[in-house]
């Protein structure tokens, strides 16, 4: 790991966190975006559309050469010149050379992320050609000498006062910071550029193999001017923009604006094929098809789905990390979740090394992706690759490889910790302050103490009263339930026994492996998967229950994937996945037993926090709400109930505690605003984070697991 690189990165984080105005703007934008998007899709089936786009893009990826050739043949037949650029440098050189031989002095550009990717403007400048950005946002950042912080709204990080200052320098007059006025200034200043330029450069949103044409999806009208007035039109586009037919293109174009800006359609969709008339003759059209890592991406089984991306930017809009630090931290040229992946392939793994760890894994992006890309999953696999390339750090390496894989050693060390922590806990269940260099860990939230007696160490002494068990289930406790919150396991027994379910606790179970996986140590995660499968299936339980949704995802998804090609474990992993279910979902869906708790609770005002991996991993979010309301509690929804709490395991402890703290702060504000006296959730990780934050801020709201609240109802 490069220390200089890490230090620069931390500097960018610190700078972003010291700009609350930016955070405020990105939060408001995220809220407004979701509303507009929902409205735009109200008459459409988003799930069907995104599956269509995914299928179409997969088809093209599977037959890349065939569609590429078809596109090129048709484009050339229509009079276009096609150049295949293997690298960014190739593309830049071709365009700069073209400009030189044609005597081009001025180029007008409409927005093209591909040209940002290749740093085309610098290449043109070095060749003595002036490049004028005409998209308003792009022009602003060109004047500011910055790079885009968003794929659709490049200058989203800037404020009108800054824009007015930049424009004043151009006009030499004092331009007032009024948005309508500034837009008019841009109109007037850039107008002559279209007429004077000898070359226009655009990107493309789609390229159609059937026709050999491209389509541009725009709002401002500058791309139409750029592609009309200058004699030469160069379109720079990634090869992944190719789709087979006009119908495919139409599907992407009907989806893109809705998912990007919440518009039903942009002001302009422009379909261009071949050398169209220009002045007295024909236009010279050059299509520069950019590979620059795309073929390598297409060859990567773990990451190739990222090539489906249609560059809508939605993954950033909904991302709590993006909303906290913006695209100049959480991105390189491409930003947000997709930016992490594209950066790794287009700009190099080292450029992605920091941001690949900045993803908190909340999966908010996955639900809004119009191409059905499991972004979080791909980012995890990249983290593993970087772990291989750069190492995961000596400390983690020892913990995961030497300690965690050896369950007995791991668990005896935790037991030792419960004794060693006495000086800081003073015998209390929460740690409010830590000494010396650990102090920052408890600055913004308290931490739970390791329980004096873990769940596994007291299990056999917990009485179970089930005469004729309806089911025999095994609890997969996970580390938090086992060692931090054993009382949660005891409550689970109480609730399950009431429902005639007997619970066992296989003692050979170990950590689910997610902490290792998230840190890039897949080898340890696989070793733990095998240990856990053996432990959980040993007594052939009817179901395996979980109280932690991150563990649930490991058992339901990761184990199966790790071991799918392993003849010894594949079937067992699949079986475990099939019988694993989270506790609240089990009560409602498998037992149909919500009614058992009817009216047993006092009418406490409760708000519910959706844990990322429960809602967006296991698809469970209605069930706990049903249990809470049926039990007699008054459920009041907080704003952003399904927004991440900022925990993310080691994310909040070691990798990005300052971002975690900010995201927690947002959540606590929403909880307080709801007016509830209790926030319920179904994840011990969220509980650690929320309880810790609420305690530290002295907010009088208790943070409880749904299972604990059900156990209370039975008292």
């Amino acid at each position: 790991m490069s220390k200089v690189r890490a230090k620069e990165y931390q500097g960018r984080i610190d700078h972003a966190l010291a700009t609350p105005k930016l955070q405020d703007a990105l939060h408001k934008f995220g809220d407004a975006f979701l509303l507009a998007r929902e409205k735009a899709f109200s008459q459409y089936d988003f799930e069907a559309l995104r599956q269509e786009i995914a299928d179409c893009k997969d088809e093209v990826a599977a037959h890349r050469q065939q569609y590429l050739e078809q596109f090129i043949t048709n484009a050339e037949a229509a009079g276009a010149t096609v150049y295949l650029a293997k690298t960014a440098a190739d593309a830049n050189q071709y365009i700069a050379e073209l400009a030189r031989t044609k005597g081009v002095k001025l180029v007008t550009k409409s927005k093209s992320m591909a040209s940002e990717e290749t740093h085309l403007n610098q290449a043109l400048e070095s060749a003595g050609v002036e490049a004028l950005e005409t998209d308003l946002g792009e022009w602003i950042i060109q004047l500011a000498g910055q790079r885009p912080s968003h794929m659709v709204m490049p200058a989203i990080h800037m404020f009108k006062e800054e824009v007015a200052e930049l424009f004043s320098k151009v006009t030499g007059a004092e331009e007032p910071a009024e948005i309508a006025h500034l837009v008019q200034v841009a109109r007037e200043q850039l107008r002559q550029g279209y007429l004077d330029a000898d070359m226009g450069i655009t990107g493309a949103n789609v390229a159609v193999a059937e026709t050999g044409g491209i389509a541009l999806v725009t709002n401002e009208g500058n791309a139409r001017l750029v592609s009309t007035l200058p004699k030469i039109h160069v379109a720079l586009l990634g090869v992944e923009k190719i789709v087979p037919t006009l119908e495919d293109a139409a599907t992407i174009i009907r989806t893109l604006p809705k998912n990007a800006t919440g518009q039903l359609l942009t002001s302009y969709v422009t379909w261009i094929r071949g050398a169209v008339p220009c002045g007295d003759g024909d236009k010279e059209l050059h299509l520069v098809l950019l590979d620059n890592g795309r073929s390598a991406l297409a060859e990567s089984p773990q990451c190739r789905d990222a090539l489906r991306c249609i560059k809508c930017g939605a993954c950033a809009n909904v991302c709590p990390v993006y909303q906290t630090v913006g695209g100049h931290v959480f991105g390189h040229v491409y930003i947000g979740a997709i930016g992490i992946i594209l950066t790794a392939f287009f700009h190099g793994l080292d450029k992605a090394a920091e941001i690949v760890r900045a993803c908190i894994g909340c999966r908010a992006c996955v639900t809004v992706c119009p191409s059905n890309i499991d972004l979080e999953h791909i980012i995890l696999s990249l983290r593993e690759t970087i772990g291989h390339e750069e190492g995961i750090g000596l400390g983690k390496s020892i913990v995961f490889r030497k300690v965690m894989r050896n369950r007995k050693l791991f668990h005896s060390l935790i037991r030792a910790a419960s004794l060693l922590q006495k000086p800081v806990t003073g015998g209390n269940r929460t740690i409010r302050h830590l000494p010396l260099f650990f102090s920052s860990l408890t600055e913004w939230r308290t931490l739970p103490a390791v329980a004096e007696k873990s769940l596994r160490d007291q299990w056999t002494k917990i009485p179970q009263k089930v005469e004729k068990p309806r089911y025999k289930v095994a609890l997969f406790g996970g580390c938090a339930n086992d060692f931090l919150y054993p009382e949660l396991g005891i409550d689970l027994i109480k609730v399950m026994n009431k429902l005639d379910v007997e619970v066992s606790y296989p003692l050979d179970q170990n950590c689910c492996g997610v902490p290792a996986l998230y840190s890039g140590d897949k080898e340890t995660a696989v070793a733990l998967a095998e240990q856990n499968i053996a432990a959980m299936l040993k007594d052939d339980p009817d179901f395996v229950l979980t109280t932690c949704p991150t563990c649930t995802m490991a058992l339901q998804r990761d184990f199966v994937e790790f071991l799918k090609d392993n003849p010894v474990w594949a079937d067992k992993a699949k079986h475990l996945a099939e019988i694993t279910v989270d506790a609240a979902g089990f009560i409602v869906n498998q037992l149909g037993a919500a009614e058992v708790f009817k009216g047993l609770s006092a009418a406490e005002k409760v708000t519910y926090h959706d844990s990322c991996h429960l809602k967006r991993g296991a698809g469970v979010w209605k069930e706990p709400r049903e249990l809470l309301t049926t039990s007699g509690r008054e459920l009041v929804e907080m704003d952003h109930a399904d927004r991440c709490c900022g925990f993310g395991g080691s994310y909040s402890l070691t990798s990005h505690p300052d971002i975690s703290k900010q995201i927690l702060g947002d959540k606590i504000k929403d909880i307080e605003k709801s007016g509830a006296s209790c926030v319920a959730m179904d994840c011990p990780g969220c509980m650690l984070q929320l309880r810790g934050g609420l305690e530290k801020q002295e907010v009088d709201v208790r943070a409880m697991h749904t299972i604990q609240l059900l156990a209370e109802s039975l008292e």
Binding site: A25, V183, E220, R224, L264, S267, R273, V276
Partner: protein
């Protein structure tokens, strides 16, 4: 959907994105509309229905000055670009213009106002219904510049505040004129 329904959907959707939609029933009404709007020269590129209506003559008779020579420079100073539309689709309030002729592009990109004549019989349901016509255009000519236009030019690039009229037309006027043409391949 019946055509009446499509016309209503189209008009609502177009207005929702800031276009003005009006009914006209004769050339005189078109001329009146343009005359009220135009604070300068009007650019009328060649298109089939303009010829049939003898639109330029009618505009001249009404005393409206037209951009006729050096269209590139003229379009940049014109107040109004007046064109037809090949067809439209209702769901998003979009007009479709076969713009391969450069004059059509100049008239629809540079002037501050763009006035479109559309026969309401040529309003289709949505973008998918438009694809077969798109394909025909591609089959009929080896080179194409086809434009979907939905409302006036817009941006939200400064503080995400929607602002109308950045580089393209600041206003889009759609005049529904029955009996102009029922051929979606003709403007």
């Amino acid at each position: 959907m019946q055509q009446e329904g499509l016309i209503t959907t189209f008009s609502d959707a177009a207005r929702a994105v800031g276009a003005k939609v009006a009914d006209v029933d004769a050339v005189d009404a078109v001329v009146d509309y343009v005359k009220k709007l135009a604070k300068g020269a009007v650019m009328v590129p060649d298109f089939a229905t303009a010829k049939r209506l003898d639109l330029t003559a009618a505009l001249k008779t009404a005393g409206i000055s037209l951009v006729e020579n050096d269209l590139r420079q003229g379009a940049a100073t014109a107040a109004v670009g007046l064109t037809g539309a090949n067809f439209a689709f209702a769901a998003t309030g979009t007009v479709v213009l076969e713009s391969t002729s450069e004059d059509i592009r100049l008239a629809t990109t540079l002037p501050e106002h763009h006035v479109v004549l559309l026969d309401p019989a040529k309003i289709l349901e949505d973008d998918l219904a438009a694809v077969p016509h798109l394909r025909t255009f591609h089959q009929n000519s080896p080179r194409n510049y086809l434009a979907y236009i939905t409302g006036p030019s817009r941006t939200a690039d400064i503080e995400r505040v929607l602002t109308i009229g950045v580089h393209g037309p600041k206003q889009l006027h759609i005049l529904l004129y029955s009996g102009l043409s029922d051929d979606p391949l003709e403007m």
